[in-house]
């Protein structure tokens, strides 16, 4: 059974399309990264999973339950770190945890969980006085109460310093090791890359890619761009380089010779080829594309992502990432 299944999920806010026919399956036991720029529809999708908003079309299923009709059954089995939430300023950290324990009707060692997220020493202070990072960790602690089968984390690293972000990743990994499925959204590829089994990239409400990190790397042929400063190069030199199998493109303008290579291209081989064809290599620089570039490429507005599959060229305002926040 899938942990999360989206079937043609669509959500309109008036004329604005926040989520547009999303199909997605998250398997049980995986750490799944939900990636997209701000306003891509990530939070709207998560809001549907939690029944904060009702879809215009399609459906969402969480742990085998319909996210709208059986939302209570869903919410009994999940832990959530929402986006754009606010803690109860006048309640202490401990009172927040007691509220969750009362609500889920479970036994939980509140102190142990607070210890784990390093908020225990502030447990009896009012949460209104917590720093952003402490609040984030408190809400993570609330999500962990009752050993949920699925953790839904919306931008979990928000407000955390690098150390806090690393601890967050460790906790996510630990929970996953216990068998918990983790679904988390981010607009930063780096965070997702480090721990996710699979990743979905969405942009303007549409799915643009779903794959494992390795799969994404392979499918995009991480290219290397070699910029060589040459003297004495002519069309023959260009032709000689272009004829190499590992070269995808080569162009000469003035003394700048720009060559792009496929995944296993040999940079040294290219330099040698230039030399052998009679030109002199004065200098060169390298640039490797990363998953981050891929992400940017997938999600830059107005850019054709895959040849033959025209993207919707909407230039209208992108929907706010969390419509709830500005209503």
């Amino acid at each position: 059974m899938a942990a999360i299944e989206l079937d043609g999920l669509t959500k309109h806010y008036g004329d604005v399309v926040a989520v547009d026919g999303l199909d997605l399956v998250v398997e049980e036991g995986e750490i799944f990264g939900f990636l997209g720029p701000n306003g891509a529809g990530k939070s709207t999708t998560i809001d549907v999973l939690l029944d904060f908003v009702r879809p215009t079309g399609g459906s969402a299923t969480v742990l085998g339950h319909d996210a709208q009709r059986e939302s209570m059954a869903v919410r009994r089995r999940i832990g959530v770190l929402p986006d754009a939430y606010h803690v109860y300023d006048r309640l202490t950290g401990r009172q927040h945890m007691e509220f969750v324990v009362d609500s889920k009707e479970v036994d939980a060692d509140i102190e142990a969980i607070l210890e784990r997220v390093r908020v225990l020493e502030a447990a009896d202070r009012k949460a209104g006085g917590y720093s952003k990072g402490m609040r984030q960790r408190l809400v993570l602690a609330m999500a962990l109460v009752g050993d949920p089968d699925l953790l839904i984390l919306d931008e979990p690293s928000t407000g955390l310093d690098p150390n806090g972000a690393r601890q967050m990743r460790e906790i996510i990994q630990e929970e996953n090791d216990r068998g918990t499925t983790v679904f988390f959204s981010s607009h930063i590829m780096e965070q997702v890359e480090a721990i996710c089994d699979r990743v979905a990239i969405i942009n303007r409400g549409r799915l643009v890619a779903v794959d494992s990190i390795e799969g994404l790397r392979d499918s995009t042929e991480t290219t290397t761009t070699l910029t060589v400063t040459v003297s004495g190069a002519d069309d023959d030199v260009v032709a000689a380089v272009r004829s190499r199998e590992d070269v995808t493109s080569a162009s000469l303008s003035g003394d700048q010779f720009v060559v792009t290579l496929g995944t296993d291209g040999s940079k040294f081989g290219v330099l040698q080829a230039i030399d052998a064809a009679g030109a002199t290599v004065e200098d060169f620089s390298l640039e490797e594309s990363s998953l981050e570039d891929l992400f940017v490429e997938y999600t830059t507005p107005g850019q054709e992502v895959e040849p033959g599959e025209p993207q919707a060229q909407e230039t209208g305002p992108t929907p706010a990432d969390s419509p709830g926040a500005d209503r």
Partner: protein, 280 residues
Amino acid sequence: MSWTAVAKKDFRDAVQSRALWALLAVFVVLSVVLSYSYAEFPALVGGTEQATVGGLVFFTSGIVSLFVSLTAIVVCYKAIAGERELGSIKLMLALPHSRRDVFVGKLVGRTGVLSLALAVGLVVGLGLGSVLLGSFEPVPLVLFLVATLLFAVVYVTIVVSISATTGSTSRATTGALGFFLLFELLWDVVPMGVVYVANGFSLPAQMPDWIFPLMQLPPSSAYVLVLNALLPDLADAAPGGGVAGFDAFYARPELGFVVLGFWLVVGLAVGSYRFVNADL
């Protein structure tokens, strides 16, 4: 039963409202002053020679109803709209609570807060009054408390329901104050206007009988009627005690219960319908 968790959390939260305790302080001072002046100068302020606990109850009911309505607005206008605007409702609704549970929990929690403040104020004010009058009459006091609590529940329901219709606290404020303005301050004019229109744009020499129930639509008027119904002996003795002055099936103090029931049902229906179907 998940509304109990919501109610508990909500009580803990709202009971810490500074505005609530400031209002309570004003209420305590006022009720002490009123009790004292009624007990010491009954003829002057109460219009009767014989000061009684029942008279005191009616004498203070005006200020009590003002306190309940204002405090209900202050304590409740943000109950749901505020949580939606800030986003704390996401923490609550990520937990296994239905929207209806949240709504009911909010009602119970805020009613608890208002009742606590009310109890403190009334015990001080009426306690002092009883001491000064040298007589303690539990029955009218308890009936007064019951009626006042019922009134408080209705007001909380109205304001929480207004709060549940929107995700914006400024709109909730406008709604709650608008309600207060229309029904508590300006309502006298409305039935007049209805009569004026119904009579072909002129006022009749004598007001028709059906204006009476219309006049009782404000919750505070219904509250006074309920007091009349529960304490009929005292109501007759107290100034302004008599009710309609004519016979009709609706011209009875029990109408007060009907009106309060009406607000309760309308509030619950509108508030929960709007909240349950909202996109947060």
